[in-house]
Amino acid sequence: MIGGLFIYNHKGEVLISRVYRDDIGRNAVDAFRVNVIHARQQVRSPVTNIARTSFFHVKRSNIWLAAVTKQNVNAAMVFEFLYKMCDVMTAYFGKISEENIKNNFVLIYELLDEILDFGYPQNSETGALKTFITQTGIKSQSKEEQSQITSQVTGQIGWRREGIKYRRNELFLDVLESVNLLMSPQGQVLSAHVSGRVVMKSYLSGMPECKFGMNDKIVIDKQGKGGATDEAGKSDLGGSGGGGGKQSIAIDDCTFHQCVRLSKFDAERSISFIPPDGECELMRYRTTKDIILPFRVIPLVREVGRTKLEVKVVIKSNFKPSLLAQKIEVRIPTPLNTSGVQVICMKGKAKYKASENAIVWKIKRMAGMKESQISAEIELLPTNDKKKWARPPISMNFEVPFAPSGLKVRYLKVFEPKLNYSDHDVIKWVRYIGRSGIYETRC
């Protein structure tokens, strides 16, 4: 198991050091600094073995978090734990920075004592932790409060406490998708996938039992066969109207927040859960079939002699004309020996950024089924460098108000048997946002 956990600043000075196991000595702190942070060459693996001691590290801005062990630990678990540790710290004091860590070192030690025992991760849900790690010093809880805390930390529903009350029961669902594309210069899709998340923010009283439904092909097909759609249409939250009018989508794979009953999903493919209070990522999913690619990039690069390049890039939007894409940015890489660039674009603003070796073309808004074009002349300094320019792909960023996978929320029903509010009293909001992930076209 994890033998120790260290946090360093960018200089390699240790900010937090907590040792859990006897086999980890103080010299481990220095070993990591010397061999990884101060290493002459950039470290090429997130796992480093130094003198039979293994170091796992992640970096957040310029802060290094390192877990150390001498045993054959579950490596995936160690990384998951480090990420979780970052989440917990962020939830407590905001951005992970040297300043914040130093200011909260007592709190961090307290957290580390709680969420890692002898190197075994323990309950690390912020919702639960915040009930008893408060840093307010003396806090005399009543006996009931105490047992409530402990039963929540260890309980089956460790992410939610009892007795939550809201005057207005409300929930927000965000379907956030990032669409990834790799396209050949000829316009052939080399790979494309959507990775999506359903984020739920709920302000519900009591211990509400929720059921979530979407246009999952497997469920729809099953119901289609069965004939009766018991709950489908009734509380439909309304579609968003993306590109196509697809009825159902094929989900390649999905994973769920720990509140979702996985065995039930496995058996009936229904998604039921008691949500944590506030925000949680209910579900993650991935689709590869019938993806709506919101933009198509058509590049044309011509080398005119040894000192000049002509670049022309056309972008076409491919969704309903009534919808608007926002924050569009096209990044056209330029060679390292660029001396000057002239750009002409029909729409938006384009600029050559020498420090980033790219032409950045920004368009605030663009409706569906439109196209726009940029042309640039790139002057090159003559070099005797034999190595050819690698021609990195043209990448694109954007945001569209629909889900490129075609996913639609069909319903989210809430039952709270003990309190007297029903599904109809809950105010529900659904929003779809499609963003570019790695959206690249080779040129």
Binding site: R26, A76, M77, F81, N103, N104, F105, N123, I438
Partner: protein, 969 residues
């Protein structure tokens, strides 16, 4: 997010942005000041002071001098302050054990506190204080806490047992904590169950045979229920524990699989990987024709692909594991090639791993896409990545024959870029392509030759020289090209020098007339002006070969090379199986067994995949000793990776096995082995006169020369044996000799068939061979040589085939062996690589000898010594095996074993069980102790159990196999 910010602001107000100041105080006399502050009456000041102490401790300052002052602050109702003091205690108690005692009272009191959070805190902290005196006081509170009414306290106490066990294992056993911990597996609270499982698993690791976890269908059911309810971390503990269970039959394993599959949809990647581990392991037991088997295979792919959208560090872990899974079960991901395409912004460690998997998944169906990608990668920035991409193109050519032409033209395009390292890498892989497809792509040689000057890396230079030498007859100016290398001969690396020597000799054999001078030159450079023994040796060998028998030289140097294999750097099958059992862990990231990087006892136990068993069979758990995977329909590929390459390269020693991207050290060892094989082979081939050459003698100094004296060994051994008999050791039975098996089929050896076995007769190890000539012509000039091996086996004399072997004739030869040859650890341990030469060719094969050949006659240990040794060898070195269906009583077993030099020292009968204590001594002086348990009471119970203890635990498996063979024979 907004509220988080708000909270953050509040907090900063609360602490007045001041805590970071503790990190900056570096005044002189600081300790003194702190001491005063710690003893202050004001609570706030005290707390501030403790914070300062902790901050100093964090940055590595020694503040142990403040121990009594800090401990004084412990008695407080301020929980935050208490936790800080505890933190301090955990760090310094060990250095101040006497003072630490001061804290005991508070701990004991806190363990009785009405607040469960405080009770848990106290027991948690106490377990972290590694001071004997404190540990004594811990027992009572811990016992109470294990039965506390509050689950939070119980789950903390469960982990505390593991802590205590780490400090004092005996104490934990004596106090009966292990039983209480076992009871917690049935606790009503899932988190208590999970922590108890974690603690027990850890404790069980240091007692491999204790059966502490006692997994049975009932407890498994409990674990599976808790799995649905506990935290994500708890699920990982439980899944990792489940993976160690051996289901009784395929039905049970299917039902566990069914209950584990839902975990594949968990958001936590570690839960997913641990579930994959359980499934991969239990799947072994399912019959392949079962519908469920196919369903399970299909279910595994999507979650594995999803892992690739995790954070990069997790992607790396996932990819390392996928690399194993793809080798074990290629069918799972065979349609998922695209997800392994490299993204421009992937971190380099992700890119390199993806590339590896792409090559493994490359097939005729997707090769076009893969090649297009690889070509793209070859123009990227990162040098390592580009090199690997180029190499990958070469590997595709070798793997998918249909693509070879396209690969070669892609490589030629890349050579045209003139980027130095791309060109070099391309030449190295083209050499391998030539090997794989002889007489097909040699037209490109001209292009390659153009780039001769730009090659500055030894591997590329060596590859180019090999190409020139190999195809000397097609390259008009081969002599000029090679001559140009010769100018700076002494500045070249050994690899290049050796290759140059071979290439010029090849050239000479092909074009003898115009290159005589050149060959003279290189031979004298190699033999007279070089300090490198390898180079000198090879120079002398060639020289002598060329001067004594040019025809033989031609046969040796220009011999046909065996084909190279399609898949390179595959993980050796038994290691792969072990690594599959470690999916998700560090072992799977390093691709090494835990014993390679874990110190001490933990992880020494080798894990294996379960064997397939039908549900109709008995309810016994699968035999621990049977080799998994191999049983049933499939037979595991017996070829040791790169061995084929090694043998193929014997004649071109300096060429590393093609496309080695793995760790180089073993390769060099193997090459050395290969050298011996060739050297020795030629040695015996050329007869005794070589021994007279001083230079040769020096050259072979490293290899103990074959001693004619050892030919007398049979006699001496025989006498020794007589005396031994005289000493009263009865030998009613002959030693066990395995039946002869075919080692070298005639198909592979141009008509020579060799079958054989090993025997130990009168203290001498004999290799008994049957040579059959199935060819049409007479065979003569037999010679034999071994590669280095684990126990230094070497022929003690030449292979005595006196008369020529005519077609269809068979002769029996017995070759005495000595154990003084060069040693190199083999895998498996008892593997032996042999080269046999005749007038037609040299042939290579490998065989395994029963380790009982190495059991010497004076292996009977004194009783006292035995007892002491048994105690002295750490328990971790003990392995247990079962021998099934063996109808022997203890006396018969003892007699049988004695015949093979496994000596019974003592016998004891306990509760209907006969225990035989036995000792064995190996020829290299290693002692092996064993305990054999025979059920006498129950005639139906025919299984024998054997425990083997040895300081070198790697021999245990071999010893067991041998005992089994002896007893069953």
């Amino acid at each position: 997010m907004e509220w988080a910010n708000q909270l953050c602001e509040n907090r900063q107000f609360g602490s007045k942005m001041t805590d970071s100041k503790y990190f900056t105080t570096t005044k002189k006399g600081e300790i003194f000041e702190l001491k005063a502050e710690l003893n202050s009456d004001k609570k706030e000041k005290k707390k501030e002071a403790v914070k300062k102490v902790i901050a100093s401790m964090t940055v590595g300052k020694d503040v142990s001098a403040l121990f009594p002052d800090v401990v004084n602050c412990m008695q407080t109702d301020n929980l935050e302050l208490k936790k800080l003091v505890y933190l301090y205690l955990m760090n310094y108690a060990k250095s101040q054990p006497d003072m630490a005692i001061m804290a005991v009272n508070t701990f004991v009191k806190d363990c009785e506190d009405p607040n469960p959070l405080i009770r848990a805190l106290a027991v948690r902290t106490m377990g972290c204080i590694r001071v004997d005196k404190i540990t004594e006081y811990l027992c009572e509170p811990l016992r109470k806490c294990l039965k506390d009414e509050d689950p939070y306290v119980r789950k903390t106490a469960a982990v505390c047992v593991a802590k205590l066990h780490d400090i004092n294992a005996q104490l934990v056993e004596d106090q009966g904590f292990l039983d209480t911990l076992k009871d917690l597996i049935s606790d009503s609270n899932p988190m208590v169950v999970a922590n108890a499982v974690a603690a027990l698993s850890e404790i069980a690791e240091s007692h491999p045979n204790s059966n502490l976890l006692d997994l049975n269908p009932q407890s498994i059911n409990k674990l599976l229920t808790a799995l649905n309810e506990c935290t994500e971390w708890g699920q990982i503990f439980i899944l990792d524990c489940l993976a160690n269970y051996a289901p009784r039959d395929d039905r049970e394993s299917q039902s566990i699989c069914e209950r584990v599959t839902p975990r594949l949809s968990h958001a936590n990647s570690a839960v997913v990987l641990s579930a994959v581990k359980v499934l991969m392991k239990f799947m072994e037991m399912l019959p392949k024709d079962l519908d469920y088997y196919g369903t399970l295979l299909k279910k595994l792919a999507p979650p594995l692909v999803t892992l690739l959208s995790a954070e990069p560090e997790l992607q790396y872990v996932a990819l390392r594991n996928i690399n194993l899974i793809v080798q074990k079960r290629p069918e799972i991901l065979k349609h998922e090639m695209k997800v392994f395409f490299v993204k421009y912004n992937d971190p380099i460690y992700v890119k390199l791993e993806k590339l590896d998997i792409m090559i493994r998944l490359a097939s005729q169906a997707n090769i076009a896409q893969v090649l297009a990608e690889l070509k793209e990668y070859a123009t990227e920035v990162d040098v390592d990545f580009v090199r690997k991409a180029v190499r990958a193109i070469g590997r595709c050519a070798i793997k998918v024959e249909q693509s070879a032409e396209r690969c070669v033209s892609t490589l030629l395009d890349l050579i045209q870029t003139k980027v130095n390292y791309v060109v070099q890498e391309a030449i190295v892989v083209i050499k391998d392509i030539f090997r794989k497809y002889p007489n097909k792509y040699e037209s490109v040689i001209a292009t390659l030759c153009e780039n001769l000057d730009s090659l500055d890396e030894p591997e590329a230079r060596a590859a180019m020289i090999w190409i020139v030498g190999e195809y000397a007859e097609r390259i008009d100016n081969a002599d000029e090209l090679l001559e140009s290398f010769l100018e700076g001969f002494h500045d070249e690396s050994t690899q290049v020098q050796l290759q140059l020597l071979t290439a010029i000799v090849k050239l000479f054999l092909k074009k003898p007339t115009e290159t005589q001078e050149l060959v003279q030159q290189v031979l004298s450079l190699a033999t007279q002006d070089s300090d490198n023994p390898d180079l000198r040796d090879r120079g002398y060998i060639y020289w002598r070969l060329l001067s004594t028998d040019p025809v033989a030289a031609k046969e040796v140097v220009l011999a046909e090379k065996p084909l190279i294999s399609e898949e390179t750097d595959l993980i050796e099958p038994t290691l792969l199986e072990e690594l599959i059992c470690h999916i998700g862990t560090l072992a799977s990231v390093y691709h090494k067994p835990p014993s390679a990087f874990v110190e001490g006892s933990r992880g020494v136990m080798h894990k294996r995949l379960p064997a397939r068993t039908g549900s109709g069979e008995s309810t016994e758990s699968p035999d621990v000793g049977t080799i998994a995977g191999g049983s049933g329909t499939e037979t595991a590929p017996s070829i040791i990776p790169s061995q084929g390459d090694l043998l193929g390269d014997l004649l071109n020693l300096d060429l590393a096995p093609p496309t080695t991207t793995g760790p180089p050290p073993p390769t060099s060892g193997m090459q050395m082995g290969g050298m011996d094989l060739l050297g020795g082979g030629l040695d015996s081939l050329l007869g005794g006169d070589i021994g007279g050459s001083a230079a040769m003698g020096a050259g072979f100094g490293a290899v103990p020369a074959v001693m004619p004296a050892s030919l007398n060994a049979p006699m001496g051994g025989g006498l020794g044996d007589l005396f031994d008999l005289g000493g009263g050791v009865g030998m009613p039975l002959g030693a066990y000799i395995p039946p002869k098996t075919v080692w070298l089929p005639a198909m592979k050896a141009k008509g020579l068939e060799i079958s054989g076995t090993f025997a130990r007769r009168a203290g001498v190890i004999q290799m008994e061979l049957t040579l059959t000539n199935k060819a049409m012509s007479v065979m003569t000039d037999f010679a034999i040589q071994f590669n280095r091996n684990s126990f230094g086996l070497a022929p003690a004399g030449p292979l005595q085939v006196l008369s020529p072997l005519s077609p269809n004739q068979t002769i029996e030869v017995s070759l005495p062996l000595s154990t003084v040859g060069p040693v190199m650890k083999m895998e498996p341990l008892n593997n032996l690589q042999v080269a046999v030469k005749n007038n037609i060719d040299v042939f290579y094969f490998s065989c395994q000898y029963p380790i009982s050949m190495l059991f010497v006659e004076d292996g009977k240990m004194e009783r006292q010594v035995f007892l002491a040794t048994w105690k002295d060898i750490p328990n971790e070195n003990e392995s247990q095996f079962q021998i099934k269906d063996c109808h022997l009583n203890s006396d018969a077993a003892s007699n049988k074993l004695q015949a093979s030099n496994i000596f019974t020292i003592a016998k004891r009968t306990v509760e209907g069980q006969d225990m035989l204590y036995m000792s064995i001594k190996l020829s290299n002086g290693i002692w092996v102790l064993a305990e054999l348990r025979v059920q006498t009471g129950n005639p139906n119970y025919t299984d024998l159990e054997i425990s083997v203890k040895c300081r070198a635990p790697e021999v245990s498996q071999c010893v067991f196999q041998c005992c089994e063979a002896v007893l069953k024979n």
